[in-house]
């Protein structure tokens, strides 16, 4: 196989933003997530919880609440006072309507998805109608003093409960009047501070569930105005609440990072009387859990430590499969790092700036596992701040290291980089043609001659890069007409002949190679694509899907390769299929066409197509055992998947040259100390 000199990079200072809101799609197949920096992501449950879509944030946009309405439309509202609709096919924040009540604290859709209710800073609850073009103001409900922090519709859409500070009120929707006002802290004599009702829910039985800042989950009968049950789940605040559709299970998230499940259970076995009982405590997060959601089969929580945790409920899982495993997602499912192989430069993409680093070098050699001293330290060359309040979508550096491009929601920028001796200079390329924004992906060709920009509606623009610093639009590739509107273009690496681009939507991957005069469509697959690459010499397209399947498609022959067919008929190893994170990057060894290098968050793998495939009975990660075996025994046990789990969590891996790898890691403890303060945990003996 060979020895590699590994550049182990840990100076990528990525601090992922915390999770602020979660919204489960009513039909339960997708999850929308909003982060504290305004970015919105959509996860697909069916495709192994793959992060399908990402809409980058905006400096002025904070999202306090997300909801799905009218089928597949996603709406968000925040402290800026606007209600924004997110265009999921165009991956941008579309129309924004001013709520008219100051900062909006919460927004919920009714059961049919035709109306949106928003709770504002001034204490008003407003109803908006969801119409095909956007949303329209319908009317104001009764306004009382005190900001409305949380809202909930009754399943029959007759009443709305609005939680505020020290009280909550129930409003009759048809008349718009407050029919009941309940003080949450009334029975406590000496309340030293105000009680903030952080989350509230109205059940069909007429029970109101409230989570407040004293760590209590309380069940009220709103018609009588009485407290039915009170559970103190935590000493710090209970920040979020979600009720399952069947209304027999509630998940509560607290400030300490613990989440609790409360279930409605019969008091005696087989009896009629039911009570709410706190059943399962979980401590998955280290920071505040500000967002929880309850899907039919799982408890989902998102914390300010940037983790999304999906905990399937065992009693709801029908068959025993990897679906029952706990999932934790911290890092995005896409690349944030680009590498200029020849120049040994790395480009790091942050939300509002880019950093260009040069790798260090060493002149010594060593044995397996040794750490070699550096003769030249890695150098931070340039920090390029993006102009404007919008966050960066995508970025790329050319293989020669002289061109850097990035795109925001409205503009695409291209820069020329000059490294002369000690100094580095960046010059903006003028007169970059304006394309239909946004650009989803950027890719430079292998000879740094042309730039491919994948943009809206599946079109790919080809630019020619001119010396000393200019660019000219050559032409635009458009997908076949049947696929328009659903394309999320993906550009594979390794387009050596300058013309291979591939577009992929969740359903139909299609490959256009106009310069090679090829145009073919890869057969459909029902899962999202997580990574794509085209081999520079053999022109084979390797696709990794989000359900961990690997397929190889030969573009010249317009069919799957024989190796791919063998893999499909044999089936991939069970340990391979039961991985948590998707493959985010595929790359090749130019000298050896049978090698494919891939990585996901927890492992990197060199796939050798010439070796036999493993079956379920052999060990998949057998590198350590192979090292101890003698030569002859090793030959018998070798299989195609050579996996290394030494570098975790991986953000990027690439092959610099024959014997040199670069891996970019981001240890979790490195950024956890930069997050907001956590709540103290008293442990005995410390």
């Amino acid at each position: 196989m060979g020895e590699f000199e590994v550049h182990r990079v840990r100076f990528f200072g990525l601090v992922p933003a915390g999770v602020r809101c979660l919204a489960c799609h009513p039909r339960g197949s997708r999850l929308a997530l909003a982060r504290t920096d305004g970015a919105v992501e959509v996860y697909n449950f069916a495709a192994n919880y793959f992060q399908e879509k990402v809409i980058p944030g905006h400096e002025l946009r904070t999202v306090e609440s997300l909801c799905w309405a009218a089928g597949d439309r996603l709406f968000g509202a925040g402290l800026s006072g606007d209600i924004t609709e997110y265009d999921l096919s165009g991956l941008s924040a579309a129309r924004g309507v001013d709520g008219g009540g100051g900062p909006i604290w919460s927004m919920v859709a009714n059961s049919t998805g035709t109306q949106l209710a928003i709770g504002c800073e001034d204490g008003s609850v407003k109803i908006f109608q969801v119409v095909p073009g956007g949303i329209q103001f319908e009317r104001n409900l009764d306004r009382r003093k005190g900001r409305v922090l949380c809202l909930s519709w009754h399943p029959s859409d007759t009443h709305i409960v609005a939680g505020s500070i020290d009280f909550f009120r129930v409003i009759d929707v048809t008349s718009g009047q407050t029919v009941q006002r309940i003080m949450v802290n009334h029975h406590v004599e000496k309340a030293k501070r105000e009680c903030v009702v952080w989350a509230i829910s109205l059940l069909s039985s007429g029970t109101v569930v409230s989570a407040d800042s004293f760590g209590r989950v309380q069940f009220w009968d709103w018609e009588q105005g009485t407290l039915a049950e009170s559970h103190t789940v935590s000493t710090s605040a209970a920040l979020s609440l979600a009720v399952s559709e069947k209304e027999d299970s509630i998940i509560v998230g607290t400030s300490t990072g613990a989440t609790y499940q409360l279930q409605l259970l019969p008091v005696t076995l087989g009896g009629q009387e039911k009570r709410w009982v706190r059943t399962k405590p979980f401590q998955f997060h280290s920071h505040d859990v500000r967002a929880v959601a309850h899907s039919p089969t799982a408890l989902i929580s998102g914390g300010l430590d940037a983790q999304l945790v999906i905990r399937p409920l065992m009693e709801k899982i029908q068959k025993k499969s990897y679906d029952a495993a706990l999932r934790k997602f911290t890092f995005p499912h896409r690349r944030l790092v680009s590498c200029a192989r020849k120049a040994r430069l790395l480009l790091f993409q942050f939300s509002q700036y880019l950093e260009l680093w040069r790798l260090g070098s060493t002149e010594e050699t060593g044995k397996d596992g040794e750490v070699l001293p550096l003769c030249q330290m890695p150098e931070h060359l340039v920090q390029l701040k993006s102009k404007g309040p919008e966050h960066i979508y995508c970025s790329c550096v050319s293989p020669c290291g002289t061109w850097v491009g990035y795109s925001t929601a409205s503009r695409f920028h291209l820069y020329r980089v000059h490294c002369d001796g000690d100094g580095v200079s960046l010059r903006k390329v003028p007169k970059v043609p304006k394309l239909l924004p946004p650009a989803y992906q950027l890719q430079f060709s292998a000879d740094s001659d042309s730039l491919f920009v994948a943009s809206a509606r599946g079109s790919v623009h080809v630019f020619q890069l001119l010396e000393p610093g200019g660019c000219k639009h050559l032409h635009t590739l458009r997908p076949p007409s049947g696929v328009e509107g659903r394309c999320l273009p993906f550009l594979p690496r390794g387009s050596a002949q300058g013309g291979c681009v591939a577009e992929v939507s969740a359903v139909v991957p299609s490959v256009h190679c106009p310069l090679l005069q090829h145009h073919c469509t890869v057969p459909t697959y029902n899962c999202a694509v997580s990574a794509l690459a085209i081999h520079p010499s053999t022109n084979n397209l390797v696709i990794a899907y989000s359900d961990q399947q690997l397929l190889e498609f030969s573009i010249p022959e317009k069919q799957y390769t024989s190796w791919s067919r063998a893999v499909q008929s044999r089936g991939l190893h069970r340990a391979w299929l039961e991985r948590d994170s998707p493959i985010t990057h595929i790359t090749f060894n130019p000298k050896n066409p049978s090698h494919i290098l891939l990585h996901d968050t927890y492992l990197l793998c060199v796939l050798d197509k010439s070796l036999p495939l493993p079956d379920d009975s052999t060990l998949l990660m057998n590198q350590s055992t192979l090292k101890q075996l003698p030569e002859t025994a090793r030959k018998r046990q070798l299989h195609a998947f050579k996996i290394c789990k030494k570098f975790q969590p991986l953000l990027f891996m690439d092959l610099l040259d024959e014997n040199c790898l670069v891996v970019v890691e981001r240890p979790i403890m490195d950024f956890k100390t930069q997050l907001p303060l956590p709540v103290q945990q008293k442990k005995f003996g410390t």
Binding site: S80, E121, R193, M669, L675, L677, P678
Partner: protein
């Protein structure tokens, strides 16, 4: 009060005056029946004058005393102020420096003054006056400029802040209030928050193999010393290279 005193004194004087004269033996009842006594004008006048003089002296002495006090206080303040200022020599140097600056600035000013003057006669006269007056007003201007420059040099930190109005619109204020509320509720004094180092080091403490805290070394220790050392190193290397060449 002086008048009352004088009046009192006069009355006292008047009362005493009759006491100086031989008076018939009188009792209180008799005084009421009898006619008022006759006092010769001259005596009374003298007495009144004497009284006034006394009072006047007292008042003058009092005034002198106050003046003295005020003068002494003034001197004290002047002394303290002098002590606060820099020593004479340094002030002299600064003045010289400013003079030099003024000299370099003045030609520019003159040019400006010349340019701004139009060709009207009056204004010409003014210009002439300006040129003439330059010499006189030079000192004043100098003094003024120096004063101005001195005040600039003293850098009075004003109570103002320049902000961009766009950021401080009403929506911005609402948003800021909302964010402050959120911050106070989540991270306020009652929330029992703790530093990240303490929080994450608990696990290291409880481990069977005890480890150091997560941020055992505080990177900010001796930061300026480290920076100074870096700069020195750069400079030293540069000189070495130069000498080597």
């Amino acid at each position: 009060m002086a008048r009352r005193q004088k009046g009192k004194a006069a009355a006292a004087g008047k009362r005493r005056a009759p006491a100086a004269l031989p008076s018939p033996a009188s009792s209180s009842e008799d005084e009421a029946d009898e006619a008022p006594e006759e006092v010769p004008f001259g005596v009374a006048r003298e007495a009144a004058e004497a009284e006034r003089k006394l009072v006047g002296e007292a008042a003058r002495r009092h005034r002198e005393l106050l003046k003295e006090k005020r003068r002494r206080h003034q001197e004290l303040f002047a002394e303290q102020k002098k002590r606060k200022l820099l020593p004479e020599a340094v002030l002299q140097e600064l003045q010289e420096l400013q003079e030099l600056q003024d000299v370099s600035a003045r030609p520019a000013e003159q040019a400006v003054a010349d340019d701004s003057v139009t060709l009207d006669e009056e204004l010409e006269a003014e210009a002439v006056q300006l040129d003439q007056g330059q010499a006189e007003s030079q000192d004043q201007v100098e003094v003024q400029e120096k004063k101005g420059k001195k005040s600039k040099g003293a850098r009075t930190k004003g109570n103002y802040m320049a902000v961009c109005l766009k950021d401080h619109s009403v929506t911005g204020l609402h948003q800021q209030l909302a964010k402050d509320f959120l911050n106070a509720q989540l991270y306020g004094p009652h929330t029992n928050r703790v530093q990240a180092n303490e929080f994450f080091s608990l696990a290291n403490k409880k481990d069977p193999v005890k480890k150091a805290a997560v941020q055992f070394v505080d990177k900010s220790w001796g930061k300026d010393k480290k920076e100074k050392a870096e700069r020195f190193k750069k400079r030293w290397l540069a000189t070495q290279i130069k000498n080597g060449l």
